[in-house]
């Protein structure tokens, strides 16, 4: 059956009961801007700001709702394929609002709201053309991400995951009249699509194995899988290819992970992200902080109950995450363009989130996702402000000394950088430290793989501090190195306001979850942890299988990942992380202070060349495409053109030739027709005579 809209949808009501609005507002705006964008004042910015602002209010209301006992809300909105008589699968769109979802909705709407305001300064004030297309893209992007966040099943997630990818394609390629952006957009689309291909197989595998793709509840695939491993009751799941239950769960987990690695730009699928800097800077902020790239990590967090069943999948996630964190950070060391440094830092920071998820730190990952969204949006918008001031020059060697001319930008950018570097007490410190701490305690509990991943993560802290402050010192300190930098263009309130909001949040967001101090302030004051545990809710979130506590329990169970937790005071690793972060910052200050800066990174010689070329990752991927895929595609094309099409064309050719000859009996002379009629009739009589046995 198609299009059964559940009758009891409450469109207008308070808090989580109206959480659909977070997606519907931007969707409505998208429609309005598509049709009337060119007639609207500011070319569609106002509806966009109103919609995301409205979404932010609804999301905040939802947070209050959940903090005062409501939720979780799980409701099917639309059933578009219904299984017949209990057989087959039922495909639905639904909404699942739990602490994780409402937190993410808040982040997305906040960032999107601020990005819209910033766009007034970056796009409208700069006199860009085609703005309705830009604002329509932003609205569709926000809508897709919102719907992805509150998806209650994997198929719906996949649909909106793809839509998010499409929107980033549209927005990265916004300036399609130049050469770079369309190419970058295409690359982003293709690379993420490569990962999504595995995700699609994963969705089919989940539906085939469990008959459902629901995330939550006792009928969800997560519950069925947990049940199957815990009690051995495997009638709910059908494995394929002769795999055992846990091995098959690992396979499915890794298939879905393909999509995650692509979207979250993890090694080896990270190559699209630096190129995506070709898009407008506010779009970069949106993509990196809250939407596109966050989608991958969010998906793992969303179905974390499934991943904790497979120690193999978790180890791979942790290792890929840790390695990516380190690997991307090395490349950020030598980049000369402001946005490139930020791009690699994004890859690196999402590596931390993957590391936390693989290392068993669900809360740590969500916490880092939150703080990173804030400070990375801040840094990108700050970079956007610098770019406006520098008349779209992005090379840091052409800047310098901007601090005195751009007070607000400098201070907020500094706050964001301190957060990124993980300096106490800025937001990034608390979350990054928790990521490392969680990985460490689970690693010391007997998982050497996690210790390796932890090592990568710890090294990346050093590199992060260094490249972040290299960027800050080159851009804002010293003497102006060009005339442009000496006299930057001033920016208006619409640039300063988002920066100020995010700057304040970058300082205070860490207090949500001061994990380092948990021995001192007590576990009950880790607000985010308690929130994600559903402590504030009347309903039992453990029973729904969505709480951090539930994940931790399953993580320790022998039938699942079987992680052990080592006893460790968080203060020690916290102190270590602080030292690791502060030392490179001081080092960067030592190297890049002063009016005349030496380009010291050039002393790295061959290593620098390697880093500047991104370890030749692009080259080998292009080689894979042109050297391997293209020949295979050519052979397949030959087969298709030659054999498949050959048969079809041959049939047609024979018919055509026969027709060409046969039509000559159509002489146009009526007597011939009469003769042929007679002959035909006689022939027929003869046939009947032979068959009927008259002769």
């Amino acid at each position: 059956m198609i299009g059964t809209l559940a009758a009891d949808v409450v469109l207008f009501g308070p808090g989580i009961e109206a959480a659909e609005l977070t997606a519907l507002f931007p969707l409505l705006t998208f429609v309005i801007i598509v049709f009337f964008g060119s007639y609207l004042p500011l070319k569609g910015a106002i509806p966009g700001i109103a919609a995301t602002g409205g979404a932010l209010l609804v999301a905040l209301w939802g947070v209050v709702d959940i903090a005062t006992g409501a939720g979780p809300r799980h409701e099917t909105l639309l059933t578009f394929v219904e299984g017949v008589a209990g057989e087959g699968v039922t495909l639905t769109f639904g909404i699942l609002i739990d602490p994780l979802a409402i937190l993410m909705l808040t982040i997305v709407s906040l960032i999107s709201f601020l990005v819209h305001i910033f766009s007034l300064g970056y796009m409208n004030d700069e006199g860009e053309i085609d703005l309705p297309r830009y604002y329509a893209g932003l609205s569709l992007f926000t809508f897709s991400m919102m719907a992805f966040v509150f998806s209650d099943n994997l198929l719906m997630s996949f649909v909106f995951f793809e839509l998010v990818g499409l929107c980033s394609f549209i927005l990265i390629g916004f300036w399609f009249r130049e050469a770079g952006p369309p190419s970058a957009a295409k690359k982003a689309f293709l690379v993420t699509r490569f990962g999504d291909y595995f995700f699609l197989i994963g969705v089919v595998a989940v539906l085939g194995t469990f008959g459902t793709a629901q995330f939550a509840g006792s009928e969800s695939f997560v519950s069925i899988a947990t049940e199957a491993l815990e009690t051995g009751a495997s009638e709910g799941m059908t494995t394929f290819l002769g795999f055992g239950e846990q091995a098959w769960i690992t396979v499915i987990g890794l298939l879905v992970l393909g999509g995650v690695l692509g979207k979250s730009a993890q090694f080896p699928f990270h190559t699209w992200l630096p190129d995506a800097m070709e898009g407008p800077t506010p779009v970069s902020a949106l993509i990196h902080a809250a939407t596109m790239v966050a989608a991958g990590v969010y998906l793992v967090a969303r179905m974390y109950g499934f991943y904790v069943l497979s120690p193999t999948a978790l180890s791979i996630i942790a290792l890929v995450g840790g390695f990516t964190a380190f690997f991307a950070a090395t490349m950020a060391l030598v980049k000369q363009e402001l946005k490139q440094v930020l791009a690699y830092s994004t890859i690196s920071q999402y590596g931390y989130m993957m590391l936390a998820l693989g290392g068993g730190g669900y809360v740590a990952a969500v916490f880092h996702l939150t703080t990173h969204a804030i400070f990375k949006a801040l840094l990108f918008l700050g970079a956007g402000s610098v770019i406006i001031a520098m008349h779209h020059k992005e090379n840091m060697w052409e800047m310098g000394g901007l601090r005195s001319e751009m007070r607000v930008t400098y201070l907020t950018f500094l706050a964001g950088s301190l957060a990124l570097a993980g300096i106490f007490p800025f937001a990034g410190f608390w979350s990054k430290d928790e990521v490392l701490f969680e990985t460490l305690v689970h690693g010391l509990g007997g998982s050497p793989v996690l210790l390796v991943a932890y090592g990568f993560g710890a090294l990346a802290v050093v590199l992060t501090g260094f490249y972040t402050f290299r960027m800050v010192f080159l851009t804002f300190h010293g003497e102006p190195r060009t005339d442009l930098a000496a006299d930057p263009e001033p920016v208006r309130w619409n640039v300063k306001f988002p920066l100020a909001v995010l700057g304040v949040l970058s300082v205070v967001a860490g207090f949500l979850n001061m994990g380092v101090l948990k021995e001192i302030i007590g576990e009950e004051n880790l607000f985010l942890h308690e929130f994600l545990d559903g402590v504030t809710m009347d309903a039992d979130l453990d029973a729904a299988g969505l709480s951090a506590h539930h994940y931790a329990e399953v993580l320790k169970a022998d039938f699942a990942a079987g992680y052990e937790v080592a006893e460790l005071n968080p203060l020690g690793p916290g102190a270590l992380a602080t030292v690791l972060a502060v030392v490179p910052v001081v080092g960067a200050w030592y190297l890049f202070r002063g009016p005349d800066v030496d380009p010291v990174m050039t002393k790295l010689g061959g290593l620098r060349t390697l880093l500047m070329n991104n370890y030749y990752q692009d080259e080998y991927q292009v080689w894979l495409a042109t050297g391997v895929t293209l020949p295979i595609a050519k052979v397949a094309n030959k087969f298709d053109q030659g054999i498949i099409d050959g048969i079809v064309d041959g049939t047609g050719g024979v018919s055509l030739f026969a027709g060409e000859r046969f039509r000559r009996i159509q002489s146009g002379i009526v007597t011939n027709y009469a003769a042929l009629l007679t002959l035909g009739f006689l022939l027929l009589v003869l046939v009947f005579a032979l068959v009927g046995g008259w002769i």
Partner: protein, 101 residues
């Protein structure tokens, strides 16, 4: 003493053969048309003969329909012949041979 059925059939077959010979050999459109009439009426004789033989009126009814049809066909046929004559200045059926591939 009724005429036995075979004779009717022989007559019908003879007329049919004459008609068939006519459409295969005649180039004059009027002769052609007349040959078609012969074919139709050969069929009519069969219908009426069997109707008589079986004592069933259905055959005669069909014969009437065929006669009406033949009248209509002649009307159209004459019209076509007139047009052919106007275009080719004769009524040779093999001249009008352009309606083909």
């Amino acid at each position: 003493m009724a005429v036995s059925i075979e004779w009717y059939l022989f007559l019908s077959a003879a007329i049919f053969s004459i008609g068939l010979f006519g459409i295969l050999t005649q180039r004059n459109a009027l002769m052609f048309l007349m040959s078609v009439e012969l074919l139709l009426n050969a069929a009519n004789i069969n219908l009426v003969a069997f109707s008589l033989y079986w004592g069933n009126l259905t055959g005669q009814l069909f014969a009437l329909i065929v006669i009406a049809l033949a009248a209509a066909e002649v009307a159209i046929g004459i019209g076509i012949i007139l047009t052919v004559n106007r275009n080719f200045d004769n009524i040779d059926v093999t001249d009008a041979a352009t309606m083909r591939w």
